[in-house]
Amino acid sequence: MSSHDSRYFSSHKKGEIAEWRQDLKRNDRDLLKTTVKRIIAAMTVGKDVCSLFPDVINCMQTEDIELKKLIYLYSINYARSNPDLAILAVNTFVKDSQDPNPLIRALAVRTMGCIRVDRIVEYLCDPLHLALRDSDPYVRKTAAICVAKLYSINRELVIDRGFLQQLNGLLLDDNPMVMANSIAALVEIQKGSCAQIIDSSLLSRVFTSLEACTEWGKVTILDCLAAYESTSATEAEHILESILPKLQHANYAVVLACIRVILSKLHQVQHLRESLLQRIVPPLITMLNAEPEIQYVALTSISEIMDAFVFPFLHSYKAFFCKYNDPSYVKHEKLNILVKITNENNVGDILLELKEYSGEVDIEFARKAIRSIGICALSVPEYSQGCVSALMCIIDTKVNYAVQEALVVLKDIFRCYPDRYESVISRLCQSLVSLDEPEAKKSFIWILGEYADRIENVIDLLRTFIDGVDDEPVVVQLQLLTSTVKLFLKRPSEESKSLVQQMLMFATHESEHPDLRDRAYVYWRLLSHGGDKVASVVTSHMPAPQCNPSS
């Protein structure tokens, strides 16, 4: 649009960039610093201040470390778009890498590694060699990481110039941070694989490092130990013995890494399996008191472990009950776990909780709770009666989505326990609200077909659906087809026959859905040629479904 817009609401200064360029050229230290700060502020909010590159780089040679840091930061951001100009900065970097102050030496090496311009890399080699041998551990630890940076820009250079050997040497450095960073760098150079960093001979050395190392270093070392294939059961036991105390570390990342090591060695120490698994439970449960994100991590880990071993957690099932103010992702994870942990001893308590959740305002969560009640019924047959009663209570509430969800679940219970709960069907038919979800419709229509001989007004009910079949989604149409055929076979009459014909005609002549047409043609052919075996194929009881709580 035209420029006269700026007349209104104008508060902005114009031509900042030009102004800053002027300010950078003035020999005023304080002004220089505020200007660079302004430029960085502009950069932070996403404004393009790239055009100032040569002017900013010009100010690089300064004694003021704060200013230096800012300019370094600027150069990291824009060097890649100005590779030619970035060369100008190299001299300063090389000079700074020999500064008496280790902080500045490290800063120079660190920044140079971040610039990722191929042409600068050449100049990095000599300072890096020196830095790796630096007397100050702070510089060495920075240099170790820098080798990994260099490797990602130019791997030949790292191999040719012998940086790998130097890095391997640093694994034995007596400073914990240097050691931790060297390991991290080596792992990265091996494309993130922790295998083969450690061999048997290094083990005792590694244990010492594990003690001395920073907490983040411990995580890396533990991950390497988890990847390490121990040569014997005794060695595995030895490793476990050494790392077990780390389960009590205050840093959750260390604890989790420690658990990973334990799980990776379990197969080698069968006789310790139970007690080891008992050991990892308490720290994981403790994490459920931490920040929600940490809880989430703990819950997903527990859930994964449970796929293999549920027993260690059985006593702690109450820890997975939801608090009303848990974030929804925590609640969902807890539900996943509750479903897995349910057995005949705890199902009563869990069911009460699930019922409580089924009335929550978070509809997604409430639905999942209702679904979980169904899964409980299937996984603990002894308690299925309780679950059915709970579901019937939910249906009595007449809350639309809850009723529909409960219906879906009840259908599965009917299938798994044939001839046990059919008494509720008439009550069910009475309290139904308007169904608007395909899954719920499907379930109800299935019930109509399956129990066609017991439901008084089944023909009327099915007819209402068939009259509106055109607007239903295919999944509902498919079920309607099957149920109508079943109705006809179970209650042959003129009425049911005309319903079947109506449905078959719709599916073969009005619908263009190939799958629905296929099904209809198969039924049609079956009904016309199948003779008396048809009923045994279509209406016979199916085997009870196997339920797998995880799916």
């Binding site: 499907k442 263009e512 799958d515 296929d518 099904r519 075996k533 196997q546």
Partner: protein, 595 residues
């Protein structure tokens, strides 16, 4: 209790550093306001409290408890109370609520108020919240006010009427005489309002339109006076006399001229004058030109006028201003049917616009390209669009995929080409192709026996990819299941990539699909396909029947039912099974597809 001034509340909220702090301030203040409302001694604070609630509402917090107070304010006598009361109503109320009943009463009183500003307030509120019920209640008053002695009331009443007839279209008839009268009003605002109302009335009502056509000469006269009369500073924008009014008249003319040669003829002179004399250097001028072009295109214009319009659009298309280019693209899309040649001339520019940096431009260009496609250029254009589909933004893909799909269907030069294009589309944008389109595709394949093998083999190759979209697999499962015999035995066709497939390979693909979590919903489909394969190639039964047996106990109902039925059929009726699963009769071709 709450005597905090609006200004102080705003300041307090601005001082909040976090949303939580803001919520707290608002919660406290809202509670104080609620208490104050309940206290009869604080009636004089109600206006300020309502003002605060409007602010609270703008921030997105609950204010429903203030609605009744707004109604009470409008029922008070003073203009200040009414003014803020009505504003509060417009902001805090939505017409669903029972409060609106009470509002109707007080607004009816105000519509007959002696002060025309008060009448204005009532009309303005009705223009903003007016349910069908209210519309019926106030229609008479509004109609009367259109003849009010004060132009301030007339223009407001005319525009409020647009809302009334929108809510209750049957009321349109009653407003016609008043509207006709206003079209000869001298006041610009009233005239503008009258044009707007007339346009709204004519758009959906043939009778009214027919009747209004009598106004064309009058409207042309007004337009002419606007163009040729001397400058009036009051309504001038960038050298154009009241562009808003010009645009409104042009729009009304469009509605009246559409489908009526006489009316069109009567307006063509003035349209030609505007189209050739309006200066397009500024936005205001272009707005007029644009409206004139739209009108020329819509009415029964003579050839010469139409050429003039298309030329203006050609100029627009080359304009540097993106807004102008955008409206040009949009308008050209409307010309497509009548004047394809004119547009083909600009094809290069248009195709380039599909790749513009601005999504708005891209979208309208695409719309236009869609109109450009014909049987001659469909292969090149859809090829280009398919390539673009790979690189374009996610949010754009859906629309693009739909377009390609319908174009391919409409103009396909051969069935083989269509099959290729549709599969290519499924691979690149499977998630955006809707089920009905897939059904049409499968129907078309079914009706083309000579390509059964070809289509099945192409789909088989595509479905073997680990990342094949679900939709693609759904189509592949059905086609490969139904035509596995053709797939294995039918000779290859021209230009086909040679693929040797055995029944066993198809079975393997089906089993692979069963094992993938992401293809869960395809399982029932696979059951039927497996049953068909087992019939087409009986040696496969040894592999397939155990698979059916496995799914006989799955929790998913439809899959279980099919597995169970099919397995029983194989076991209990060996003499019938071939007949049960023989090729399904293809569906009839839908009417709109060329056979």
């Amino acid at each position: 209790m709450s005597t905090l001034r609006l200004r102080d509340l705003i300041r307090k909220v601005r001082e909040c550093k976090t949303a939580a702090e803001e919520r707290a301030v608002i919660a406290r203040e809202s509670s104080a306001i609620r208490e104050s409302f309940r206290n009869p001694d604080e009636a004089r604070f109600v206006p300020r409290n309502v003002a605060k609630l409007m602010f609270v509402h703008m921030l997105g917090h609950a204010t429903h408890f203030g609605q009744m107070e707004c109604v009470r304010l409008t029922a008070r006598n003073g203009f200040p109370e009414k003014r803020i009361g009505y504003l509060g109503l417009m902001l805090l109320l939505d017409e669903d609520q029972e409060v609106t009943m009470l509002v109707t009463n007080s607004v009816k009183n105000d519509l007959s108020h002696k002060n025309h500003y008060v009448v204005g307030l009532g009309l303005c509120m009705l223009g903003s919240i007016c349910s069908a019920e209210m519309a019926r209640d106030v229609a008479g008053e509004v109609e009367q006010l259109m003849g009010h002695g004060n132009s301030y009331v007339r223009k407001k009443a005319a525009l409020t009427a647009t809302r009334v007839i929108k809510k209750v279209p049957e009321l349109t008839e009653g407003f016609v005489p008043a509207a006709e009268k206003l079209l000869s009003d001298r006041h610009h605002g009233v005239l503008l309002a009258a044009c707007t109302l007339a346009t709204e009335m004519c758009e959906d009502d043939d009778d009214v339109r027919q009747r209004m056509r009598a106004q064309v000469p009058q409207l042309c006269k007004v337009l002419k006076s606007l163009i040729y009369a001397g400058k009036s500073v009051e309504h001038d924008i960038a050298g154009h006399a009241d562009p808003f009014l010009q645009v409104a008249i042009l729009r009304l003319l469009r509605v009246l001229g559409r489908g009526d040669a006489d009316a069109s003829d009567a307006m063509s002179d003035i349209l030609a004058q505007i189209a050739s004399n309006t200066d397009g250097a500024k936005n205001a001028g272009n707005a007029i030109l644009y409206e004139a072009v739209e009108t020329i295109i819509a009415i029964e214009a003579v050839g010469g006028l139409r050429v003039l319009a298309v030329n203006i659009l050609g100029r627009f298309l080359q304009n540097k201003d993106n807004n102008i280019r955008y409206v040009a693209l949009n308008t050209l899309a409307k010309v497509v049917e009548v004047d394809m040649q004119a547009i083909q001339r600009h094809r290069a520019i248009i195709v380039n616009c599909v790749k513009d940096a601005d999504i708005t431009i891209r979208r309208s260009a695409l719309q236009l390209v869609y109109g450009l496609v014909n049987a001659k250029n469909v292969t090149t254009l859809s090829h280009e669009l398919l390539e673009y589909l790979e690189v374009c933004d996610e949010e754009f893909k859906c629309e693009l995929a739909k377009k390609i799909s319908s174009l391919a269907l409409k103009f396909s030069p051969s069935k083989q080409w269509y099959i290729d294009t549709f599969i290519a589309l499924l691979i690149r944008a499977g998630q955006y192709i809707d089920e009905l389109e897939c059904n049409d595709f499968m129907g078309l394949v079914a009706r083309t026996p000579q390509l059964h093998g070809y289509a099945a083999r192409s789909l088989y190759r595509a479905a073997c990819d680990d990342y094949a979209p679900v939709r693609l697999c759904a189509v592949a499962v059905w086609v490969c299941g139904e035509y596995s015999d053709a797939m294995v035995h039918a000779p290859s066709v021209e230009d086909e990539v040679l693929t040797k497939v055995k029944h066993n390979d198809v079975t393997k693909l089906m089993i692979a699909i069963l094992s993938e979590e992401k293809y869960l919903m395809l399982r029932p489909l696979v059951m039927t396909a497996l049953a068909k394969i087992a019939v087409r190639e009986p040696s496969e039964q040894a592999v397939i029947i155990p698979v059916l047996a496995k799914y006989e106990t799955t929790l998913e109902l439809e899959t279980q039912k099919r597995a169970h039925e099919y397995k029983s059929m194989f076991e209990k009726m060996p003499d019938l099974r071939d007949m049960l699963f023989e090729h399904m009769p293809p569906p009839e071709a839908p009417k709109f597809v060329a056979a």
